[in-house]
């Protein structure tokens, strides 16, 4: 689903964010990306989402080669990826329902058809009763769950999450991770950036550790073959 093949990213200022990074994420696989801030976690997610383009190597996401993707294809590409942001990125002048419905609206789905899906997504994150509220009326954890509902409402193939539990207490964080795990079980690939080692180590999923833009360690408790790495 996602294949990094010796991908590097150097920003115009000369800063080397990623260097010669190779790994791939299969369909239905759940992996964490971890590392200190500045290690390249955010850049990695930005490349997958097409916010930045790789400066070297080849990155293929969902069949699209990200170095060559046109701006028209890019919006279609993003519609197949559900993204959860650290700071939720909800639209504060729209209700919880409308926020979750936004990806469907962008995809041009019939609103009546969408209604069922928005309800299902909200139900999944346990916020069906708050669909009419504005995001500001919700707690941080609830807002994050709205963000997750929005990320999954369009039945994406890939879910990206950038520090989704950054501002949450351990109990809520575990809840969020359990939610992600449910999507993995239905064939969605998840790539979650997190620096919360205590949380992710205990979950038992694949962990990619970045250090100065390079893959410094890879732990893969579930699969016997994927532990060794060229670094």
């Amino acid at each position: 689903m996602i294949t990094f093949d010796r991908v590097s990213k150097r920003y115009p200022g000369g800063q080397q964010a990623l260097a010669n990074l190779s790994f791939s994420l299969a369909r239905g696989e759940f992996a964490f990306v971890t590392g200190h801030s500045g290690a390249g976690k955010s850049t990695l997610l930005k490349l997958v989402l097409g916010i930045e383009k790789p400066s070297g190597g080849k990155l293929v996401v969902n069949g699209n080669e990200m170095g060559l993707i046109s701006s028209k294809m890019l919006s279609l590409h993003r519609r197949q990826i559900g993204t959860v942001f650290q700071d939720h990125q909800l639209l504060n002048d729209r209700s919880v329902y409308d926020n979750v419905a936004l990806p469907l609206e962008i995809s041009g789905l019939d609103p009546r058809e969408g209604k069922r899906r928005v309800r299902a997504a909200l139900d999944k994150v346990g916020l069906l009763s708050k669909e009419k509220l504005l995001p500001m009326a919700l707690s941080g954890g609830e807002q994050q769950r709205v963000g997750i509902a929005r990320a999954v409402v369009n039945t994406p193939r890939i879910i990206l999450a950038d520090e989704p539990t950054g501002n949450l207490d351990p109990e809520l964080s575990a809840e969020i991770m359990a939610l992600f795990a449910q999507f993995m079980s239905v064939g969605v690939s998840l790539l979650v950036a997190s620096h919360d080692r205590a949380l992710i180590d205990g979950l038992g999923y694949r962990i990619l550790t970045l250090e100065e833009g390079r893959l410094s360690a890879e732990a893969n408790p579930h699969s016997a073959g994927g532990s060794a790495n060229e670094h």
């Binding site: 919006s75 789905l109 019939d110 999954v152 193939r157």
Partner: protein
């Protein structure tokens, strides 16, 4: 919830019409949410459209009047002094053979004198003295000057010109006058209505000014509406950024802004029309009087059907709304495209 990746493709899509209805409703509510900015922009558009519209209307009223007057473009042909009746007949027959001559009227010196007397209010006895066939010496022989009481007015042929093809009457008259100048026994030729030409020139100036002003106002409007739209895009920078991240195309993001531009333009056009009605109501009477003065000079009252022209304001409405809509949409298109492209995630 189904999470099968292929689910989206087969699902029912929203109709284009419903999509546009939603985006236009969104644009309206955004305009309503910033009433002060919306009102100011509407006023700017309204006034900017009003000025050229008023000038064009004035020009149209004057042109209509001129067309009415032109139908009586006359040429005065003055024959040599003391031309005989036979010669006069011969010249008039010669002129009547010309294609451009519609009709012809002979004014003898005596008739002319009578007319003059009437206008100037001279007494008939005084006038009669001019009709004597012989020149007489002045009573005052000492200072040796000649005083001829003989009728000093020439025989005049008043010729009505006829336009052919797409030539205007004024042009036809001018051409005919040049032809007549070459005729024997013709002393001089005057095309009546130099004032008409002046009025025509004034109308041209008004028209050109209106066009130029319209052009400048259009540029100003594009800038003003564009700026309003750009600010509104920038206010929603976060929303646009998020929308882009979840796959919204630039065209999708631009749509409500295009509707905003369109609505501002149409609203401004409507405002311009209302303002125009007010202005015409206030000064239309004075303009009408001014034009009537010209009409009086032509001896035909009501040639300028100004009030009628001005009352056809309904036609102006369509033009103003159309101009406003086009400018608003165009400004929004250019401004939003640039501003949205600048909102990169």
């Amino acid at each position: 919830m189904s999470t099968k990746p292929s689910a989206t493709a087969s699902l029912k899509r929203v109709s284009r019409l419903a999509e546009h209805r939603r985006e236009s409703a969104r644009a309206l509510s955004r305009l309503r949410s910033a009433p002060a900015a919306t009102l100011i922009t509407l006023l700017v558009i309204g006034i900017a459209l009003l000025l050229p519209a008023l000038l064009l209307q004035l020009q149209r009223a004057m042109s209509a009047g001129i067309v009415a007057l032109e139908s009586e473009a006359n040429i005065s042909v003055y024959l040599d002094l003391g031309v005989s009746e036979i010669d006069t007949k011969r010249v008039s027959e010669q002129l009547l053979q010309l294609d451009e001559v519609d009709s012809l009227e002979i004014i003898t010196p005596a008739q002319a004198l009578a007319q003059l007397g009437e206008t100037a209010g001279l007494d008939s006895e005084f006038l009669a003295s001019f009709d004597s066939e012989v020149s007489i010496r002045s009573q005052n022989e000492d200072n040796n000057t000649w005083f001829s009481p003989k009728n000093p007015l020439p025989t005049t042929l008043v010729v009505s010109a006829r336009a052919s093809g797409d030539e205007t009457l004024a042009e036809a008259a001018e051409r005919l006058a040049n032809q007549i100048r070459g005729v024997e026994r013709v002393e001089s030729v005057t095309v009546e209505g130099a004032w008409l030409a002046r009025l025509q020139a004034l109308t041209q100036i008004i028209r050109r000014t209106a066009q130029l002003l319209g052009l400048l106002m259009a540029v100003g409007l594009l800038t003003a509406i564009g700026n309003t739209i750009r600010l509104s895009v920038e206010q929603r920078r976060d929303e646009i950024r998020v929308s882009k991240l979840i796959g919204a195309s630039d065209a999708y993001i631009a749509r409500p802004f295009l509707y905003s531009g369109l609505f501002l333009g149409v609203g401004g056009g409507l405002l311009a029309w209302l303002l125009q009605l007010v202005v015409v109501g206030l000064v239309g009477h004075e303009i009408g009087q001014f034009l009537e003065l010209y009409a009086a000079e032509a001896g035909s009252s009501g040639a300028f059907a100004l009030s009628e022209t001005l009352q056809r304001a309904g036609q102006e409405l369509g033009l103003l709304l159309g101009a406003g809509a086009l400018l608003g949409w165009l400004a929004a298109l250019v401004a939003s495209r640039r501003a949205i492209a600048a909102c990169e995630p």
